[in-house]
């Protein structure tokens, strides 16, 4: 049944999915290059929206109603709630200015390109097991994952690290929905729940860090060390 519906819609939907995937990758690179916190959050929101659309498309493709639920969940949490919370935090904590980078932007971008190539080379052999509609998706998800990882490594502020972390989450979501055509509902719900709790924790954290250090700069969080 599933196979049948895939055949029915793939002609229209799979190019759209691919476009979304490419867009996802672009957004990831943009995140890697962006210095301003506000823009970072905006990009993150775009990623969430992209994800939601992707999920909906896959739902259309497979005819699985659960994925529509998932899409709505994604849009509300990742596309709206999360950026809003971050934005709210930013305002409340009065964080301003640019993000220090451990590595300059061009080199980071170059590294990012290498990572994308690497991700594709890992994922390419696996494409054979995918339905044709989602060829290459896994590679892109993996690339997005690695790029956000790289972003976390190169950023030196707590908020930007969290943004990287959430971007990583998005990449995973992309893999879970677009590449593998949806996880079981119970798992999705669990993941969503965790994301919510995670947000709360992040929020609590930021206030605690701010209260304690008067800053969200990471170098205040580098005091526990062994090589004294």
């Amino acid at each position: 049944m599933i196979m049948h519906s895939i055949l029915a819609h793939s002609a229209i939907i799979s190019p759209m999915l691919r476009f979304l995937a490419a867009w996802m990758l672009v957004l990831s690179f943009a995140l890697l290059a962006q210095r301003r916190l506000l823009s970072l959050i905006r990009l993150l929101a775009w990623q969430g929206v992209t994800l939601a659309v992707g999920t909906a498309l896959v739902g259309q493709l497979t005819g699985d109603p659960i994925l529509w639920v998932s899409a709505v969940l994604t849009l509300s949490i990742k596309g709206i709630l999360m950026p809003y919370v971050l934005h709210y935090l930013l305002r409340r904590l009065q964080v301003r200015g640019d993000v220090e980078m451990a590595l300059n932007v061009p080199s980071t971008q170059l590294l990012g390109i290498l990572l994308v190539v690497f991700a594709f080379s890992i994922a390419a052999p696996l494409d054979g097991y995918l339905p044709a509609a989602t060829h290459g998706m896994l590679g892109i998800a993996l690339a997005a994952f690695l790029l956000s990882f790289l972003m976390m490594i190169t950023r030196r502020k707590a908020i930007s690290q969290i943004v990287g972390f959430l971007a990583m989450d998005n990449a995973l979501f992309f893999a879970a929905t677009s590449a593998t055509l949806g996880m079981p509902l119970i798992v999705e719900l669990g993941i969503a729940l965790d994301t919510l709790i995670g947000l709360v924790v992040i929020g609590v954290f930021f206030f605690q860090i701010r209260d304690t250090f008067d800053s969200l700069d990471l170098h205040y969080l580098e005091h526990i060390r062994e090589d004294k």
Binding site: V187, D194, V201, T212
Partner: protein, 484 residues
């Protein structure tokens, strides 16, 4: 049915404690809940002993020997933690001036943590397993940062980020697993049920599984504390209240490893099997050596034993990597022994550092003279963790070495170097803590009540080393069949 009771009892505690968890009443409620959970787990064990594997909720929950043993450990240590925290936490509250909200947070988050630990091992669904571990991370992060001290915040932040990233990787691995299983098992929740996957493991694509396993290993491995993914571990152990450190060491690390092992059991094919085994052995040895040498310069008692947890998890990982009935038996036994002994260590040293007001080892000198009961509990638990006979860790360490001799003698030098170094690093600290001329702690009889779990758990460890009850021995043997 009993599975539900276990989970409901544990889970219902979370909101209950969130509302009623303040003050003495909260502590008592916490204790009562975990006592009930323990009883339920024991009943569950009785049922497994009579009926074999039991299931619930279709096939969503499933208890075999592996999960049962871990559930038993989790509930036992959970109960001990509740007992310990009954006398420990009020003093923390006084010392740090914790508000009622924070007390509620402590109790409910602890209960959530214990719930997720049970959920993780009782669930048959690899996805739920991941969800439970993520939940465990989130709840324990709040425990670590409970005191709002800079150090605690920093540790909690690192813990959160590193383990969050780790779990993200593990999720990617899970997704890939699902991806590999879908063609064989069809879409839907069956494709993530471990029992189904295990039954069809031959049909799973080994290429995908390999990559999935790498992600899962690196991801959950972060939680196990495998080097070089371990950086959060000593910080987090040192920062939180001692009850939380005990919980992290005794429960979380085990369950994370449990997840890896469940995963590994799916790729025991002729190609993928040795690959996974070698990875586990390699990580085990690397971690062992790194943890061993890290202990040498430790001045913080909780950091020291956090590294010791790493070392023991490394040994267990190594043993499971070796495979073979004897090695798995030894690894499982070591897991049980380590959980019981290590939580005791954190109870004892936790109380000591609470009374001394510092975690600096040299400030704890002369415990045996100034606080005999406390001194004895430190002595016994640390000796058990050092693998001294007749504790079970001694037994399992010997068995691990013996299996290493049989199956992979090349690893022996590293193992021996690691074990020797660990001993060289921990023992002098113990001796100092017990016997060095005391300069800080005045002589006082400390409360015995809070330390009862130490003696209780150490006697369990000794029983496991001297005469393992027959039924548990059977289960331990069964684990080998499950993991491979």
């Amino acid at each position: 049915m009993i599975i539900f009771w276990v989970l409901v009892l544990a889970g219902a505690g979370v909101p209950l404690l969130a509302f009623l968890g303040g003050g003495r009443r909260g502590a008592r409620l916490f204790l009562l809940l975990n006592f009930l959970v323990l009883i339920a787990c024991v009943l569950m064990a009785v049922q497994v002993a009579t009926h074999g594997i039991i299931r619930a909720g279709g096939d969503e929950f499933r208890v075999d020997a592996f999960s049962l043993l871990l559930a038993l450990v989790n509930s036992t240590v959970g109960f001990s933690i509740a007992w310990f925290s009954h006398s420990y936490f009020p003093k923390e509250v006084r010392h740090h001036g914790l508000s009622a909200g924070q007390q509620k947070l402590y109790h409910s988050m602890f209960q959530l943590f214990l719930f997720t630990m049970l959920l993780a091992v009782l669930s048959n669904n690899m996805g739920i397993l991941w969800v439970a571990l993520e939940g465990a991370t989130l709840s324990s992060v709040l425990l670590v940062s409970l005191m709002r001290k800079p150090q605690g915040l920093e540790a909690a932040w690192k813990y959160f980020i590193l383990c969050g990233v780790g779990l993200a990787m593990a999720l990617l691995g899970t997704v890939l697993l699902y991806f590999a299983a879908e063609p064989a098992l069809g879409a839907g929740s069956d494709a993530l049920l471990w029992s189904q996957l295990h039954a069809h493991s031959a049909a799973l694509n080994s290429g995908v599984l390999t990559i999935a396993f790498i992600f899962v290993l690196v991801g959950f491995g972060t939680k196990v504390g495998l080097a070089p993914l371990h950086s959060w571990l000593p910080d987090a152990h040192a920062a939180g209240p001692s009850s939380a450190s005990a919980a992290l060491s005794a429960l979380l690390l085990n369950v994370a490893l449990y997840a890896i092992l469940r995963f590994k059991s799916l790729l025991s094919g002729p190609v993928a099997g040795p690959f996974a085994a070698h990875l586990l052995m390699g990580f085990g040895l690397l971690t062992l050596l790194l943890a061993a040498f890290s202990m040498f310069r430790q001045q913080d008692v909780k950091r020291l034993f956090a590294y010791s947890s790493m070392e023991h998890m490394a040994l267990i990982t190594f043993a499971f990597g070796l495979g073979g009935p004897l090695a798995v038996f030894a690894g499982m036994l070591h897991m049980l022994g380590h959980s019981l002994a290590k939580s005791s260590v954190f109870f004892a040293t936790g109380q000591a550092s609470q009374e001394a007001g510092t975690q600096d080892i040299s400030a704890l000198n002369g415990l045996l003279h100034s606080r005999p009961v406390l001194g004895w509990s430190v002595l016994l638990s640390v000796l058990a963790i050092l693998g001294m006979p007749p504790g079970s860790l001694f037994f399992s360490e010997i068995l691990i070495l013996a299996s290493a001799v049989q199956q992979s003698w090349q690893t022996l030098p590293f193992l021996l170097l690691g074990l020797g170094t660990v001993f060289a690093a921990i023992y002098p600290r113990l001796q100092g803590m017990l016997l060095a001329p005391a300069n800080s702690l005045p002589h006082r009889q400390s409360g015995v009540g809070g330390l009862l779990p130490v003696f209780f758990q150490i006697s369990l460890v000794v029983i496991l080393g001297v005469a393992i009850p027959g039924q548990i021995e059977l289960w331990l043997h069964d684990v080998a069949g499950i993991v491979q």
